[in-house]
């Protein structure tokens, strides 16, 4: 039986009916065409599906859509809402070469946003711990850590 729900995503409210077994990841990607959020392992190990719910990073592949109704959901599409200007985190990822194939990027950026929301000047160790729930199969970790550090600098200046 489908349940009618309202999801608040990147400031917009979506009314839809979803089956209980559908995950937030499926609803984002398949129903709402918000395909910036990826699906990797489906078991909470890789972080590709990371989004923020009420400001906290979660794995959208292990979150039932029904469980997040009424909560504030932010996806990578919400980082740069205008579509023209990139968020400082995204700029930093581009500038430091932190993007290779790009599949892990949106999840990494959402965790970067979470790290920086908790701590505006994280140390390298804190960044590494904050990103420990992500896998980059291109193995470009060093640039990704640098990107988060660089994003912190940009966000302090702006």
């Amino acid at each position: 039986m489908k349940h009618p729900i309202e999801l608040k995503i990147n400031g917009d409210t979506y009314s839809l009916a979803v089956d209980p077994w559908r995950t937030l990841n499926e609803v984002l990607r398949e129903d709402l065409n918000l395909t910036g959020t990826k699906l990797g392992c489906g078991s909470g190990d890789c972080g590709a599906c990371t989004v923020l719910v009420n400001g906290r990073s979660v794995s959208s592949c292990l979150t039932l859509a029904l469980e997040v109704q009424g909560k504030e959901i932010q996806t990578v599409e919400g980082l740069a809402p205008s579509g023209s200007e990139l968020h400082p985190i995204q700029e930093a990822f581009v500038e430091t070469g932190a993007i290779q194939c790009g599949f892990c990027t949106s999840g990494m950026e959402m965790s970067a946003a979470y790290i920086l929301s908790q701590n505006s000047s994280p140390t390298e160790q804190e960044i590494r711990e904050g990103l420990s729930g992500h896998l980059c199969r291109c193995t470009g970790y060093i640039q990704i850590v640098e990107a988060v550090s660089e994003a912190a600098n940009k966000m302090k200046q702006s």
Binding site: W21, G130, G133
Partner: protein, 291 residues
Amino acid sequence: MTLPKFEYFAPESLEEAQQLLLNKAEGAHLLAGGTDLLVKMNHGLLKPASLIALKHIKGLEEITFDPKNGLKIGATALLANVAAHPDILEHYPAVAAAARETANVQIRNMGTVAGNLCNAAPSADNAPTLLAMNAEVLISGAKGERRLPLDQFFKGPGANALDSDEILSAILVPAPDSDSGVSYQHISARGKVDISAVCVGVMVRMEGDICRDVRIFLGAVAPVPMRAVKTEATVLNQQLTEEIIEKAGIAALDESQPITDVRSSADYRKKMVAVLTRRALTEARDRALNS
């Protein structure tokens, strides 16, 4: 990767959840953080007809502490909130450490300590410390409420002592003695995010440099988190010198019963049991002496 179909219920009280559990009988499964349950369902290991979500029950996420009655961790308290709670950091640093060392950031923002216990993995990160600290679980069922010592809760890999009508509503941890210290130690292949290959929780109560009380629990080296009784005997009423702690490590190695699996060989686990037991005893001793 699509979940099998199920009905979904979001009760707003424990009584309502209880009633649903009774009505739906064997086909129902409780849902807390979902970080273990949904993975098992994704992999086809579980196919519940209905899920009863606990996160909408008000008050069940609460963490409370008072110096007399100790700590109460509600069933839906998040791992992240346990890891960062000021009272837990101050009075139960090893409980906070175990929660902080569980899985990764995202999972800790979703998963619960109670779920980690109910899932009953032999490797459960939060079990050894809570066991060492004489924790109990508060269980509510059709016949009312009962308290069960946590060391009677684990029945085998994936099996716990809950009857089909019962819900673990909270974890109760006694207030620590002022002359006691607790430590949690673990090791895993990736170091931060993955399931522990071995984990150890130790509580000691010191009188000067003599150990007057001790509880040692080893995770991931037996079908359930096991109490290391022979190891405890090597340190009880002894000065906790390097030599005694070395002996305790060997005793723990001897009495552990690990298997070889994807995370580690039995041999490696045995060696690590000795190392982690030494580290945990040392840290627990030092915490007791500095408390």
